[in-house]
Assembly symmetry: D2
Homo-oligomer: 262 residues x 4
């Protein structure tokens, strides 16, 4: 899909996202978005698309590093629970507790017993938080291996992205099928009524993002999407001529470059 | 400045930013960027520009909500200190402890005594953390009131941005001069050798961002900017034909839209 | 029961407690003790008896204040989960999440719907953490109202204890029966196989403490109670005559009182 | 000093402590007590004496374990700052940031440069928090090596205490003089006007505790020590005969032992 088409379709949805955020704040709603999926599928880009126009004081993106020794000794969900939202907040997990059923399983960082416990306990945990009223949306972003290879290649050649490629990525790349198996086992165990999964095809990332955001918006009541209400306060005219900056202690830097003639 | 010019100038600096982040990780450096300035000046956009290509697991943007009752009773700096970086991390404060010398002072949320204490104690606090080796960069983004008015008007008319305008914004808008005075007092007290301020003119936001990022990069040793080292690991050819997605439990959503013909 | 009898019976159990703590540390066991019961029944004293000889770095007593506004908006269990133990730790809750089914219900601080949700969700939550291997011991300390009255009177007349009497205590005192009803409802809902309750009669506080500690010890495998193993390291003789304190900067305070002749 | 003499002298001071705590709560005062000193000197016992009759929801004893890897990378004071009190709270540090100038220095866990930095930075840090109004009381408990040896021997022979003896204790025991030197250097650098040290002779632990508590009480205004004000609320007579416990779901445990005839 071309950028222009994409922008034209995304723009009105951005307004709906802003409306949902406003509604969440007014009604004290708590929203959790779990973003999982293939390496390179587009998790980060989707999170950016969702949060682009939201208030940085209302949402948080949670991308936890590997657990500390102390955290490793705790209840598996504890370090994630700490980041759950309070009234009016939106939390997006860029990878989540599902690491255990994905990368940890496939790469052998978790034992089979740990994975089994995880698959048995996760529905209980999610039922608890959903039962408490937290709106839990779980997305898994799919793409074919050919697409993945193409994106890996692209990353390797882009100096802005090459650092994203870790040895684990290299190792994981050859295990596409095992990841598929792991995902299917995960879906079988954790696609529940209270906390269903949504799969989104990200072979085309723009179409994927549009589809995901549309689905996300449709999970909220119509009232939440009503973005027509005017919210901006009135601005009376200034009482006097606008002032200019005035420096007595320190001057600004010289601009790096001049105007467009430069 | 035109977008094309801007992109051409920003792109190589993005590579340097990625290099600095890599260097910080390798050397266990801790970086704190304090982003302050006029309403509408461009703090959020600058943070996005800096972090755009960084690893979400390496940096954090800290935008604290108003303090809880418990936090109000604590040492003023305590809730900020909690977010300081550990080895290899980059933390960007979108507004910071300087709230007390800015909005809190101008809008009367802090007493004169509290502001005085703040201006006296802040250099000590910053000297402590800088003395511990944290690299502390403090930016204040300037713009003339005419520019600010223009941007406020633009926001009011943009449904994606109107929500950003709070009653405090309306009240603050008429106090441009008081903000100038507050800033000058803040600079007089807190522009220190260990923790100097840098003012950046954001009357043109693109030029402002370029200038700010160039200055930020220049604070690091040359080695940190060396972005030529290849970092991508080798990718051996896949042992067999790329696989496709395979669904046994749940199918992906129907795409919201088809291909560009749509 | 007389103090002497009590001490003679408690002393060997203290040794077993030390042995259990050592065992927990060695085996990475996590222990949670929930201490609930009537006002004045003896929760605090029981916690002191249990922890008296333990390492302050191994156990924590968690007595949470009323929730902040932020915490009120979170999943009910969140602020308690934060304090769950990591490997080798012992956490004692002096009152706990069961506040909702006790004081909050009886005094009207929680709605009937909140209490219902709590009674329904708690077994799930506890099953999750017990299923993760946390050893969860829940005690409810009982005493008749005549005893309670006597202790309240004693407290009112003791300047060291009078401050413990809050207006809520006064109000709660007349609702003994409602607390009984609340407890019975709580037991009916949350006395589960994975997380059973133990009621202990504290009409005699010394007998109550002995009974509680004996029961607690019996929940651990025999190996954990084996306190005969010598653990103290060898202390070689000092290479030279013991030194005395030597002050060059500051002298100690004059002692408040001299020797016993005083 | 005999126990009876000690109790008679301590009891009225306990009332003053309760009065100070009440005063701190009413006036929103924040109190920090740093408890440092020789191994076996009596830090733990002093903390117990101070807190014995205080409200567990008002004070916290902070005894931090060795820092995690993440904490090791942070500003040295960060993990301590997290535990500083809010309005109305009392925090007692059982060992503190001064570890660096004591055990870490003597046992070689910190480099000379780290110790130097610590000694230079600590006065700044303490001046900051004291300047913010936190009442900071720093005690160092002294005892001669002969006394220390005696107590070590006592511990080794007491099954309730033997576990307290770590290999570090054994190693530290032979370095009594080095600890003296370390303390003197610490005093020279950190005994400041804003945050003075108080040394207390603990060769007799009871005299030591009395002396310390007396000194502590004398740091507060007279009003804080006024413990005569009646605080207990009125208790109207119960409207009807006291009720007895009534069990429908679960019975209490059989008492471990019967009455004193046993």
């Amino acid at each position: 899909m071309k950028r222009k088409t994409y922008d034209a379709l995304m723009e009105p949805m951005q307004r709906e996202l802003v409306a949902v955020a406003r509604w969440a704040r007014l009604h004290g709603e708590r929203i959790v978005v779990v973003m999982e999926g293939r390496d390179t599928a587009g998790k980060g880009g989707s999170i950016k698309a969702i949060t682009e126009h939201l208030d940085t004081r209302q949402f948080r993106v949670v991308a936890l590093p590997k657990p500390s020794e102390r955290e490793q000794g705790q209840w598996y969900f504890q370090r994630y629970i700490e980041h759950l939202p309070t009234r009016g907040e939106i939390v997006l997990f860029d990878r989540s507790w599902y690491n255990r059923a994905g990368v940890e399983r496939v790469m052998g960082f978790a034992t089979a017993a740990q994975v089994d416990t995880f698959l048995r306990e996760t529905p209980l945990f999610e039922r608890s938080i959903a039962g408490d009223g937290i709106r839990l949306l779980k997305y898994w972003l799919c793409c074919d291996q050919a697409q993945q290879e193409e994106r890996f290649t692209e990353r390797r050649c882009d100096p802005l992205k090459a650092w994203k490629l870790s040895p684990i990525d290299v190792a994981a790349r050859a295990r596409y099928e095992e990841y598929t198996d792991a995902r299917e086992a995960m879906l079988a165990a954790t696609h529940t009524e209270q906390a269903p999964w949504t799969l989104v095809d990200f072979n085309d990332q723009r179409i994927g993002r549009l589809t995901l955001v549309r689905h996300l918006l449709d999970q909220f009541p119509d009232a939440a999407l009503d973005h027509e209400t005017p919210v901006a306060p009135e601005f009376p005219p200034l009482p006097r001529k606008p002032r200019r900056e005035r420096y007595t202690v320190l001057k600004p830097l010289a601009p790096m470059v001049g105007d467009d003639g430069d």
